[in-house]
């Protein structure tokens, strides 16, 4: 397993109650030698969201997508500007309810769960299906 060092978290990311202790000016001899190398802290939004105006967050309820690493209560990043393809994970509204499934376009339109406990949903004539957007990432929280 390789580990990449991505950068450090700056004091600005700490909760407000903590920053008071670190950010106040401290009068000692040297200015920090790091001052010339300050970079903005890593921003998760930048990593997770490409098109902010078209991106919505959706909470998952249930374990039907567990094998795609989407656990119960995960937060989905849904980009409405990306055209869903065969095999995309999507959030769709099916007969008025939001569902998260893998989209199958061929041979037959179908929403596939990623958990053997659940059956594929074949879209029947007269059913109302709208794809809301493509899921670009899922955030599972462990603690």
């Amino acid at each position: 397993m390789t580990i990449n060092y991505l950068g450090s978290i700056s004091a600005n990311d700490l909760p407000a109650t903590f920053t008071k202790f670190f950010v106040e000016p401290v009068s000692v001899g040297f200015p920090s030698p790091a001052n010339d190398y300050l970079e903005s802290p890593i921003d998760l939004n930048q990593y997770l969201i490409k098109n902010g105006a078209a991106t919505f967050l959706v909470r998952v309820s249930g374990d039907s997508m567990l094998d795609a690493n989407i656990a119960d209560q995960a937060i989905l990043i849904v980009d409405r500007s990306l055209k869903p393809k065969h095999g995309s994970i999507v959030v769709a509204s099916l007969d008025g309810d939001f569902v998260c499934k893998r989209l199958q376009l061929k041979p037959r339109l179908c929403l596939l769960p990623e958990n053997p406990k659940y059956k594929p949903i074949y879209i029947q004539h007269g059913q109302d299906l709208d794809i809301m957007g493509t899921v670009t990432a899922a955030i599972n929280k462990f603690e």
Binding site: G52, A54, L76, R80, S81, V91, G96, F98, D130
Partner: protein, 422 residues
């Protein structure tokens, strides 16, 4: 020919309520004002049921719900967020944009050469907003702002489903203006349209044909601009830097009727505190504070409206001064024995803090002024992070007992209210 576009969201608040409720795709939707008083937005289906704009909710409630309509309290956190998304997308498409209201924007289409391109741009714009945010819009394209309003009006009423109308041929424009009553024209109110009717002017075309000098002499330069714009001559420019506010109003309708002066005083104090925060947020100072109180317009027996103003000797932004002024006004306009249903406070006569004329008779102790400004800033900061610092005359519970019984979740601005999959 230079073209402009007006992008206007269809039934905006009602459309917002639908974005995360696909089950309500075809259900009639109405949205109510603060305190669930009146209908302030209606979906197409609710309009078709005959629900009128501004109608008191209690008058239509029973019949509307019986026919399967759905009702929401207003959810401005949601509408504000979706509006911002729509405006961001439009901003990315053109060089200049004027955000005209929460659901309308004017675009400068200077990069577009001909009518076909303009129409295609309109369709692209509409499809993008529909797909990316889920809000339906209609688009009026024309050489002047006033004509884009006309075009938007037509886009709404055509049934070809495109929601885009492009008016750029003089012949087409005149044809449409002939069928357009003057009261439908942007900027022409009820009184003005009556006056024009008396002169025998009924259609927008007739107005456009009027002699400019006559209009300017008999009416105003404002109407002259409207006439020129109807002829396709741009007079009202796209304004892409919004002007600072000219007044601040904080007002509420009460759920229960209020008769006592002390209760009213406490509520007005809450409005004054909120107004003061807004004033300082805008970095303005005001010279006048006004207070109004009124009984319900549905209580025909006991009707009273009180309104008066207090003038400060020099511009202020200190909440304590606003409270003092508001209290003085309230004491003079208050009458015993009336069930008050609505009240509010209005700050006006703004001047920028940097250009304040010092009053001859006012103490201008610089240290004192600095301390007062610091105090206000500190209180604003504390109150913005949930600590509540109250002024003695306020009552607890914030602005007023706002009643929002049927408000939808803050789907896009609160971690605990996100839409959820089944």
């Amino acid at each position: 020919m230079k073209l402009l576009a007006l992008v206007d969201c269809d039934n905006f608040y009602a459309s917002c309520e639908r974005v995360f409720r696909p089950d309500l795709k075809k259900t009639p939707i109405v949205v109510l004002s603060n305190n669930d008083g009146c209908v302030i937005a209606r979906s197409k289906e609710a309009k078709a049921m005959g629900i009128k704009m501004g109608v008191p909710w209690f008058q239509v409630k029973e019949a509307y719900l019986a026919q399967g309509g759905k009702v929401f309290s207003s959810n401005f956190a949601l509408y504000g967020d979706l509006s911002k998304r729509v405006m961001n997308i439009l901003d990315g498409m053109v060089k200049r944009i004027e955000i005209y209201s929460i659901d309308e924007a004017f675009l400068d289409l200077q990069h577009i050469q001909n009518k076909n391109q303009a129409y295609e741009f309109g369709v692209y714009c509409r499809n993008t907003i529909r797909q990316w945010v889920g809000i339906p819009v209609r688009i009026g394209i024309a050489p002047t702002k006033t004509l884009t309003k006309v075009a938007s009006h037509i886009a709404k009423n055509t049934n070809d489903g495109t929601g885009v109308c492009c008016l750029n041929k003089q012949k087409d424009i005149f044809h449409i203006l002939q069928a357009l009553p003057i009261r439908e024209i942007w900027g022409i109110g009820h009184n003005l349209s009556k006056q024009l009717n008396q002169l025998g002017i009924y259609s927008a075309y007739e107005l456009a044909q009027m002699d400019i000098r006559f209009i300017r002499k008999k009416f105003s330069v404002v109407l002259e601009r409207t006439v020129r714009e109807l002829r396709g001559e741009p007079c009202i420019q796209i304004d892409d830097h919004s002007e600072p506010k000219k007044q601040i109003v904080v007002s509420r309708s009460f759920r229960d009727r209020i008769e006592s002066l002390s209760e009213l005083k406490a509520l007005i104090s809450n409005f004054a505190v909120r107004a003061g925060e807004k004033l300082r947020h805008e970095k303005q100072k005001c010279s006048q504070v006004s207070v109004f109180i009124s009984t319900s317009r549905f209580n025909k027996k006991l009707q009273y409206r009180g309104f008066d103003s207090f003038q400060f000797p020099c511009p202020i932004d200190d909440t304590r001064s606003i409270l003092m002024g508001a209290n003085k006004v309230l004491n003079t306009i208050f009458k015993h024995g009336y069930p008050y249903a609505k009240a509010g406070i209005l700050l006006s006569q703004f001047s920028h803090p940097a250009f304040i004329q010092k009053s001859l008779f006012e103490a201008t102790d610089q240290l004192r002024l600095k301390q007062d400004a610091n105090l206000m800033q500190t209180i604003d900061e504390l109150n913005s992070i949930h600590t509540q610092i109250y002024y003695a005359s306020q009552c607890s519970g914030g602005l007023s007992p706002i009643q929002k019984k049927m408000v939808s979740p803050k789907y896009t601005t609160n971690w605990w209210e996100l839409p959820t999959t089944k």
